[in-house]
């Protein structure tokens, strides 16, 4: 159930199968991203893969001394490119791997193009998704739906991605979906269809309790992506944006050249791995420790090396030192930038109000706070619009709803038309009308007591009060209490036991906050393994 390893295993297998010798990895745009998420360049270099080429690049040289490993999505264009490639092979031998199911006719046309017998392998390796964390995957699809319904192309891509995930994890799940969402239902049906069609592929060793695929729709919880996050990974994504583990820092004032774009990968950055789920304050102290640790090592290195022993120590420590210096400068830059943005955008205050909007039911104070912040010149128009969106979502039906007034305030503040329109769009997208379950008011007695208790205890951290709705859903699911009338099974059979392996897929994208939730759930509930996925990974910018 580790998606990073699942993909990594595939890639390793490809490389191993091709035997010794210099290799080139031939990929398309999407598989490049897929591979880059699980393998670093230096790692892959050690496996004798020296070149990375795009199948669609025209400027490739003939290098007959290289072996080509092709990892491609089975799209029409890719097959065409490959046919051209095989007609005039540029490399000595080809190992072809498709990331998904390929049709027989495509195989045939490829075979007919291979007149020089350069193809040594044709396989399907189902690494057709972006593995972000061991329990989090994404398909990097933006705007998967048009209105309430699927964009057909994206639906098929999502289906492919999801089935590939199931195959790579060797799971043949039961499917549950969110009844209130048409999109969820469509996707569930499509996945089911593929499973039925490719039944022989999905014949895995039966586990005691069958795995479960739960398909949700973002519109059920439009709040979560609108909140500012305070854990490291989520913050970085929120404020800087993570794209395939890469962070673009080029907008940071005074950034040095080699830090324009940095890679944050838990796979090979220990500090990041240890801190990605910690909140901002903890990271502050951790980075201080990191710095101190570094300082301790540093002066020795930068001094003149007097004796041979010094030099020896230096030489022995050099790579660690270098690595550490890279890590330190990277994280210091990132955290520095984060804190700059936080203070510049007055995010602490904004976030406090956001949390209040999301978690409490005091309309008048909420309204007051929103209004106050709207007057604050430091609050960006984007943040302002977000506050209003949250307000709109929460107090949509409130008797003294003053949304129009707030929108006027927004206009006065000079917030652009685009953002103002978003408010109504969000309400339409995630408003009460479409929500299957109630986000804000506690449903049953247990939840009420819980909230009451929470109120008594006092809030530990005002910035992280909000628990994504997903937490509740999953909690119920694990305890076997998730209502079937809201999340029906696809097909006649239902799960009697408590589920153990759960794959959650959120149409419209997951968030890092939810990733954190899943992470904690994984850690706190024994015997349960949850993998979260989404069409993309969100931040508030959508």
């Amino acid at each position: 159930m580790n998606v990073v390893f699942a993909v990594k295993q595939y890639v390793s297998k490809m490389i191993e199968d091709s035997g010794p010798g210099m290799k080139v990895l031939l990929m398309d745009k999407e598989t490049t991203g897929i591979v880059s998420m699980v393998y670093t360049q230096s790692e892959i270099l050690q496996k004798e893969v020296y070149l990375f080429e795009r199948i669609d690049s025209q400027n490739r040289e003939i290098m007959k001394h290289l072996k080509a490993i092709c990892f491609l999505r089975p799209t029409k264009e890719n097959v065409d490119y490959l046919i051209q490639e095989l007609r005039r092979p540029k490399y000595s031998i080809y190992f072809i791997y498709f990331s998904n199911v390929i049709s027989k006719s495509d195989v045939k046309s490829l075979a007919e193009a291979d007149e020089q017998e350069v193809v040594a392998e044709v396989q399907e390796f189902y690494g057709d998704y972006i593995a972000v964390n061991p329990h989090l995957f994404s398909l990097n699809i933006l705007g998967c739906c048009q209105g309430r319904n699927w964009d057909p192309a994206q639906l098929s891509r999502t289906t492919q991605g999801l089935t590939a995930l199931l195959l790579s994890l060797k799971k043949c799940p039961m499917i549950r979906y969110q009844l209130s969402s048409e999109a969820a239902k469509r996707l569930a049906e499509c996945v089911k269809q593929v499973i039925t069609k490719e039944y022989e592929l999905f014949e895995f060793r039966r586990t005691e309790v069958p795995p479960l695929l739960l398909i949700l729709d973002r519109c059920d919880d439009a709040i979560t992506p609108l909140l500012n996050q305070w854990t490291y990974q989520a913050m970085v994504h929120e404020l800087l944006g993570i794209n395939n583990n890469r962070i673009d820092l080029s907008r940071v004032p005074g950034i040095s050249k080699d830090l324009r774009e940095v890679v944050l990968s838990a796979e090979n950055d220990e500090f990041y791995a240890n801190n990605m789920y910690l909140n901002f304050a903890e990271i502050g102290s951790n980075i201080k420790n990191l710095m101190e640790d570094f300082q301790k090592k540093k002066p020795k290195e930068q001094q003149k090396l007097e004796s041979i022993a010094d030099m020896k120590a230096f030489v022995e420590n050099y790579p660690q030192f270098k690595k550490m210096s890279g890590t330190v400068s990277k994280h210091v830059t990132v955290v520095g930038e984060l804190s700059r943005l936080v203070s510049e955008r007055n995010l602490l205050e904004v976030s406090e109000v956001e949390q209040e909007l999301a978690c409490q039911n005091d309309h008048s104070s909420a309204l007051q706070n929103v209004k106050r912040l709207l007057q604050n010149p430091k609050v960006t128009e984007f943040d302002a619009a977000r506050l209003v969106m949250l307000y709109a979502l929460h107090y949509e039906r409130h008797s003294s709803n003053s949304l129009p007034g707030l929108i006027v305030d927004l206009r006065n503040k000079g917030v652009s038309e685009k953002y103002r329109k978003l408010v109504s769009a969000v309400v339409e997208y995630g408003g009460k009308r479409v929500r299957g379950s109630d986000l804000f008011s506690p449903k049953d007695a247990v939840a009420i007591t819980k909230q009451f208790l929470k109120g008594l205890k006092g809030v530990e951290n005002v910035y992280t009060q909000h628990q994504p709705f997903l937490h509740e859903t999953l909690d119920h699911l694990i305890k076997g209490k998730l209502k079937e009338n809201l999340y029906p099974y696809l097909g006649p059979s239902t799960l009697r036991d408590r589920p153990q392996d759960i794959i959650v897929f959120v149409i419209g994208g997951a968030t890092y906050e939810e990733a954190l939730t899943v992470y904690t759930l994984n850690r706190t509930t024994p015997g349960v393994r949850i993998v979260l996925g989404g069409t993309t990974v969100h931040n508030t910018k959508r």
Binding site: M1, N2, V3, Q9, Y10, K13, P20, M22, S42, L45, Q46, E48, Y50, L51, N59, E61, H65, V107, K108, L110, A111, E112, D114, E115, Q116, E121, V122, Q123, E124, F125, Y126, P134, H135, L167, L169, K170, L201, A266, E267, E270, A273, N274, E301, I308, M311, K312, F314, V315, E316, Y318, P319, K322, N522, R523, T524, T525, P526, G527, V528, R529
Partner: protein
């Protein structure tokens, strides 16, 4: 259930999650669980399962360290605050997901296609062969045409009014041409020509696919053909009707394409680019490193722990070897990097990229592995380590004994045990003393002292202990015990005092010894000077002399007189050397032993002068025992030598003052970089050192240039360091960190300075 593992209570090991009973192993835990708690909540089972996953993971960690390093480091961070569930990073290793192969399907389709293709190519080649089988130059054109037509039936002219390739109408001016290989028709523009050499190449290659012709010298023949073609076309302008081609065969584009492809295949089969060859070498080296490095690391680790399982020399040999391979890797990858850089048409950017990447990965490889290559202790350090280990062991033993003694609580017994231990302790160093001394190469007189220096430790410790006992007993008010203890203490102190005085005596003795040693060395130096002069006069002779000397060491005065006579050409010189004792060879020969006897009376200590010549890895006690009587009795009992066979090796040392210089004088330090310190591992065959002048060197170096040995090791280290730093500079430059480059360059300069100094110094 998770509450049991609450972070506040950190317990490790295989605890049963239900009863917190500590079980020794995972399997025991499992069975324990099955016996005791089966039928309880499934959640617990889940937890056990998670434990199992952890255990599995841990096992995997141990088994395949390399691949999972990152995951490990990630996991370690979390383990500290894990509570109950399983961190996603700790999930059991993901097995390879589902796969599906289309290969058989693919092959089926391809086979059909390939058959077709192969048949076609073969057909063309057979026809080509037929067309070139006869002598075209000397055959009439009509006849040629007849033969050509017999190979393949020509398409009827009337059937083809337009050129099938370009669509032009055939006319008088635009004549029809037939492909000689398939018989089809095209116009002159679309016609291709095959030159005879090209045809020959194809046919011969297919005839003997083992490819007897090796050079692709014929590959530019298409150019050649076309040039010839243009000449001939000028000449044939006059006779358009006469379509005689001397050395070319007409064919259509399609056939030509097929043949060209075929040619390309043939070429590729034979051709291996330089980069491939270099790369193969590189990989070979890497494999070698992968194979050798762990072996070396094992050795070095063992040596650094002061163990004697492996010999230092062997290890440094291996180290040198591995380092050489690294250098080779470096050189090879550099070569790959610069491959074709100054060719006229610069290589494709991708080629350059490939070369860069290979270089990069080689650098990574070297960096990663070379730094794992821990350094060896120098000889001195090794001795120290060995000693330390020995001491550690001894201390441990005494500690154990002490613990046992104390547990007895019987004071009398303890006292007697103490005495015995104390005497033991005294005897041991005496017995032990020479051992390390021998190995510590006499020029280090301090080391002998060190052997004893920690010996009083247990005694002092004991005294200390007893003092504390007394205090305790006093506190407890047990007067009689206090008394006995005090008695005991006094005894101990006496013992200690005695030892101290002994040590003082020993120390002074040692000082005397040292002086003596210095004297001896002075003498040796003098002798050497004298010898060098003499050697200059008759190097060859002196060697034979020393050889003789070697062979018959015990013959005493008579032989030596003979030697003196033997000296022939240089008797005058030897005689005139005023201060050396060498005028009387016998005295010179027995010089060191004689001096020994003059030294302090302790016979065991008298060995140091000989010790320098001892072989490192031959601490054989009989040898040592043999030396001392030999030293003492050399002169009076010459025949005694026979029993000591191994003496032969030590003899050259005895003769060293004579033999050494002739080896030393010509090549003191330049040639022999690392050798002296590596060689002794395998003591050369007795006769060997004297066959080649350099052979005596090891002894020479061992005897008097101990510091140099050390320096040489350092020198090697320096060299390696320089290499490393160079690599880093390169690395840093690539990454554009100028400040680092600066610091590194400075270091490098310094290192080089040191090296130069060292090199220059000894000369």
């Amino acid at each position: 259930m998770a509450s049991l593992d609450e972070p506040g209570e950190v317990r490790e090991g295989f605890l049963c999650p239900l009863c917190l009973k500590d079980l020794q192993s995972f399997y025991q835990l499992q069975s324990h669980y099955e016996e005791e708690h089966s039928g309880e909540d499934r959640d617990v089972r889940g937890q056990i399962k998670s434990l199992m996953q952890k255990a599995k993971k841990a096992k995997n960690k141990l088994l395949k360290r390399e691949g999972d390093d990152r995951a490990d480091s990630g996991a370690q961070g979390y383990e500290s605050f894990s509570y109950g569930g399983v961190d996603p990073y700790m999930w059991e290793p993901q097995e390879l997901g589902a796969v599906r192969s289309h290969l058989s399907d693919f092959k089926k389709h391809r086979a059909a296609r390939i058959d077709h293709y192969v048949v076609e190519v073969n057909k063309l080649i057979i026809r080509l062969e037929k067309l070139t089988a006869f002598d075209r130059m000397n055959t009439e054109s009509a006849k040629i045409r007849a033969i050509e037509k017999s190979v393949v039936p020509w398409v009827n002219d009337q059937d083809v009014p337009f050129c099938p390739d370009c669509g032009n109408k055939f006319s008088i001016r635009n004549r029809r041409h037939h492909c000689r290989l398939c018989g089809s028709i095209m116009c002159k523009k679309c016609m291709e020509l095959i030159s005879l050499p090209f045809a020959n190449k194809l046919t011969s290659a297919s005839k003997d696919s083992l490819s007897t012709h090796t050079s692709p010298s014929q590959s530019p023949n298409s150019v050649h053909g076309s040039r010839r073609g243009s000449i001939s076309s000028i000449s044939s302008v006059s006779s358009v009707l006469d379509e005689k081609d001397d050395d070319r065969i007409r064919c259509c584009t399609h056939c030509k394409d097929t043949l060209l492809k075929r040619e390309q295949q043939i070429d590729e089969k034979e051709h291996t680019p330089t980069i491939v060859r270099l790369y193969e070498k590189l990989r070979l080296c890497m494999e070698k490193v992968d194979q050798k490095a762990p072996e070396y690391i094992k050795m070095a680790a063992s040596l650094n722990a002061g163990e004697t399982t492996y010999s230092l020399e062997h290890a440094s040999d291996l180290r040198l070897e591995v380092q050489k391979v690294y250098e080779l890797i470096d050189a090879l990858s550099k070569k790959i990097l610069t491959l074709g850089l100054n060719q006229d048409p610069p290589p494709h950017p991708n080629t350059l990229r490939l070369q860069r990447m290979i270089r990069c990965s080689a650098t990574l490889f070297v960096q990663e592995k070379l730094l794992g290559l821990m350094s060896l202790p120098t000889k001195e350090q090794f001795e120290e380590l060995k000693k330390k280990r020995k001491q550690d062991l001894e201390r441990k033993r005494t500690m154990e004994r002490q613990a046992a003694l104390e547990s007895q609580r019987r004071l009398e017994e303890r006292q007697s045990g103490l005495v015995s231990r104390a005497t033991n302790g005294e005897v041991a160093p005496l017995r032990r003393g020479p051992g390390p001394l021998r190995k510590a190469e006499g020029w280090l007189p301090l080391s002998g002292g060190q052997g004893q220096s920690e010996d009083p430790d247990p005694l002092l410790q004991q005294i200390h202990n007893i003092t504390s006992f007394i205090r305790q007993a006093k506190a407890a008010g047990r007067a009689d015990e206090v008394r006995t203890l005090q008695e005991n203490l006094r005894q101990l102190q006496d013992e200690y005092d005695q030892q101290q005085t002994e040590k003082a005596i020993e120390l002074s003795r040692r000082q005397a010894e040292e002086e003596e040693l210095q004297r001896e060395q002075l003498q040796m130096l003098r002798e050497r000077e004298w010898e060098r002069e003499r050697v200059r006069a008759a190097p060859l002779h002196s060697r034979t002399r020393s050889l003789d000397f070697q062979r018959e060491p015990g013959r005493g005065l008579r032989t030596h007189l003979a030697h003196a006579l033997d000296l022939g050409p240089s008797p005058a010189q030897s005689g005139t050397a005023p201060k050396t004792p060498s005028p009387s060879p016998a005295q010179a020969w027995s010089g060191p032993p004689a001096l020994d006897q003059e030294g302090p009376p302790q016979s065991t200590v008298s060995q140091p002068p000989l010790n320098p010549f001892e072989e490192e890895d031959r601490p054989s006690p009989p040898g040592e025992g043999a030396v001392s009587p030999a030293a003492a009795e050399a002169a009076p009992l010459p025949k005694e030598y026979n029993p000591f066979e191994e003496e032969e090796e030590e003899e050259p040392e005895a003769g060293n003052p004579f033999t050494g210089p002739d080896g030393l004088a010509p090549n003191p330090f330049e040639e022999e970089e690392a050798r002296p310190c590596l060689r002794p591992a395998s003591p050369p065959a007795p006769g060997n050192p004297f066959e080649e002048p350099a052979g005596t060197n090891p002894f020479e170096v061992d005897s008097d240039s101990g510091p140099e040995v050390e320096e040489r090791i350092e020198e090697e280290l320096l060299l390696q360091q320089i290499d490393n730093i160079k690599a880093y500079i390169f690395d840093a430059k690539q990454c554009g960190r100028l400040d680092e480059v600066e610091v590194l360059t400075e270091n490098l300069r310094e290192l080089k300075c040191t090296l130069a100094k060292q090199k220059g110094g000894p000369d």
